[in-house]
């Protein structure tokens, strides 16, 4: 681990509606300037982790019942989203990531800051397709364009830590590849720290520096991204597993030979 941890999460526990524990004992470090991938299957708790870092609205019945989240050493547990946004933590959510009833131009104007080193023009530079569509209502954009717009809006908020939830959802493989590459370029250029949550583990780990794997509300694996890409268990469960072509029947696959109890 080279950089200083920009974000540190220790033993985080989040409970919905006072009865459903979504994540438990989650600890991760996001070093400054790196791209960290958080992968896992549906329902693993990845989105909850991101939401806990970026803040819940008081009207939602969810509580951080344990653990500590620190940004550059300062605790940010339980603050509301707009305070954290001002502190530089920007979340690009999975759904409803743009304002569908506003035009592209208005969406970007919404997020733009007056003191911006990042301007709307620069965003158009990163995503030229948006310039062509600048007066169109955001609700009518294609999936990929919406994603670009969402990232553009996030960049305009001058993030120190960018949290992205399910970047690749609903996108064609080639679009995913382009978008991921663009994201890596931008992150290097702006020295932006990114925490990327993905079900598409291959795409995420291919641009990330580090990775964490979540399962049933806990972190079960962590390490450098390229090491994770080669790890047999990760390959089997998340990357479509090499070596499965050699096996004769399903009974040979490890998945069926032992129970998936990561922590025993």
């Amino acid at each position: 681990m080279t950089g200083n941890p920009l974000l540190q999460v220790r033993q985080l526990e989040v409970v919905y509606n006072r009865v459903a524990t979504a994540i438990q004992g989650v600890s991760l470090d996001v070093p400054e300037g790196e791209i960290v991938a958080l992968v896992g299957t549906n329902g693993a708790g990845k989105t909850t982790t991101l939401r806990a870092i970026s803040g819940f609205l008081p009207s939602e019945d969810v509580a951080i019942t344990d653990g500590l989240i620190t940004l550059r050493g300062e605790s940010i547990n339980g603050r509301i989203p707009h305070q954290l946004a001002k502190a530089g933590i920007i979340l690009v959510p999975e759904r409803d990531k743009v304002f569908a009833t506003l035009s592209v131009q208005d969406n970007l104007a919404f997020a733009a800051r007056e003191d911006g080193a990042m301007t709307v023009d620069r965003v158009y530079g990163y995503f030229p397709r948006l310039r062509e569509r600048s007066s169109q209502l955001a609700g009518y954009l294609s999936g990929g364009e919406k994603q670009m717009l969402a990232i553009g809006m996030a960049l305009l908020c001058r993030p120190t830590l960018l949290l992205i939830d399910e970047l690749s959802l609903g996108l064609a493989p080639i679009a995913i590849k382009e978008l991921m590459e663009r994201l890596r370029e931008i992150s290097r250029e702006l020295r932006l720290t990114v925490l990327l949550v993905e079900q598409n583990a291959k795409a995420a780990l291919s641009i990330a520096d580090r990775g964490y794997v979540m399962e049933s509300g806990r972190i079960v694996f962590s390490g450098k991204a390229d090491e994770l890409l080669l790890h047999p268990d990760v390959r089997e469960f998340y990357l479509g597993g090499a070596g499965q072509a050699d096996s004769k029947s399903y009974r040979d696959i490890k998945q069926y030979r032992r129970k998936r109890r990561w922590w025993s």
């Binding site: 609205l57 009207s59 939602e60 989203p81 707009h82 959510p93 409803d96 919404f110 908020c157």
Partner: protein, 287 residues
């Protein structure tokens, strides 16, 4: 000509009310049943502030502005903000409660005396056809038009206006982009209360303020529903339709029916186009 003058001024009154209702619905998905009461209380505050300062209109304006700011912020912060996640009827019933409390305030504080707001200028303009328009009437029309123009410019072109529209659509996303949602929604309430107060003042100048005047609230609500609950354009159109229909009913059919008339119009419009003329077509169960 008298007909035109009356209908135009009534339209202004209802349009201001309907626009406030539309803003509140757009911002918080709340249908405000207390709007008429807010308008009349606002009118009374204007009147009393003016009286306290020995008849100075500027003081009255200041009083009305202060009232709008405080009431709007209070209603949002103390009540509406707390019931955000709950079923739709909770917020609506709270506004019903607010309406009752304001009605009680009229009785207790102002003894429900009927007052007219008199700016002290005699009817000044004679129009063709024998109608007279006082300066008050002209001021009403001008102010209403100015209000709508300013509002339109605000929402379309200013940064705060864009933030308003975004927050109205998705408060969580707005908050995640650095917008203080509580501030924006309080502002929405302040603007709505200000519009209602202006409407109350205009109504008090043309007609009178008293316990019975609160019925303009329901007419304003009808105007908003006919035009589309989330549309400012619809507020004006709906107001015109209701004002016209009311005037015709009082003159040609039966004055007693005029209180019930807005609802009959509403029933007709709702059977044909439930979202109102300019409202966004949406699943009805969202209301």
């Amino acid at each position: 000509m008298e007909f035109v003058a009356t209908v135009v001024i009534l339209t202004c009154t209802y349009a201001l009310l309907a626009s406030g209702i539309a803003i509140l619905y757009k911002a918080g998905r709340v249908v405000n049943f207390a709007h008429g009461e807010i308008a009349i209380v606002g009118g009374y505050v204007f009147y009393s502030s003016g009286l306290m300062a020995g008849g100075s209109p500027w003081f009255a304006v200041i009083g009305a502005v202060v009232f709008s700011v405080i009431t709007g912020a209070f209603i949002y912060v103390a009540m509406m903000r707390r019931v955000v996640g709950e079923p739709f009827y909770v917020a609506i019933l709270i506004t019903v409660g607010i309406a009752i409390v304001l009605k009680a305030a009229i009785i207790v504080i102002w003894r429900a005396e009927q007052v007219t707001i008199d700016v002290g200028v005699a009817p000044a303009i004679r129009l063709a056809g024998g109608a007279t328009l006082s300066y008050m009437d002209i001021a009403s029309i001008v102010l209403t038009i100015a209000f709508f123009v300013v509002l339109h410019l605000f929402f379309t072109f200013t940064r705060l206006g864009v933030q308003f529209r975004g927050t109205a659509e998705n408060a969580l996303l707005a908050s995640q982009r650095g917008v203080n949602v509580n501030l924006v929604l309080s502002l929405a309430w302040m603007i709505a209360v200000a519009a209602a107060t202006l409407s109350g003042v205009l109504y008090g100048g043309r007609a009178f303020l008293g316990s019975a005047s609160v019925s303009i609230g329901l007419a304003g609500l009808t105007a908003a529903l006919v035009g589309g609950l989330d549309s400012l354009r619809g507020a004006v159109v709906g107001a015109f339709i209701v004002a016209l229909a009311q005037y015709l009913t009082v003159r040609l059919i039966d004055p007693v029916l005029s209180e019930a008339l807005p609802f009959l119009i509403l029933l007709v419009v709702m059977s044909v186009r439930p979202w109102g003329l300019f409202g966004t077509v949406e699943e009805l169960d969202r209301v």
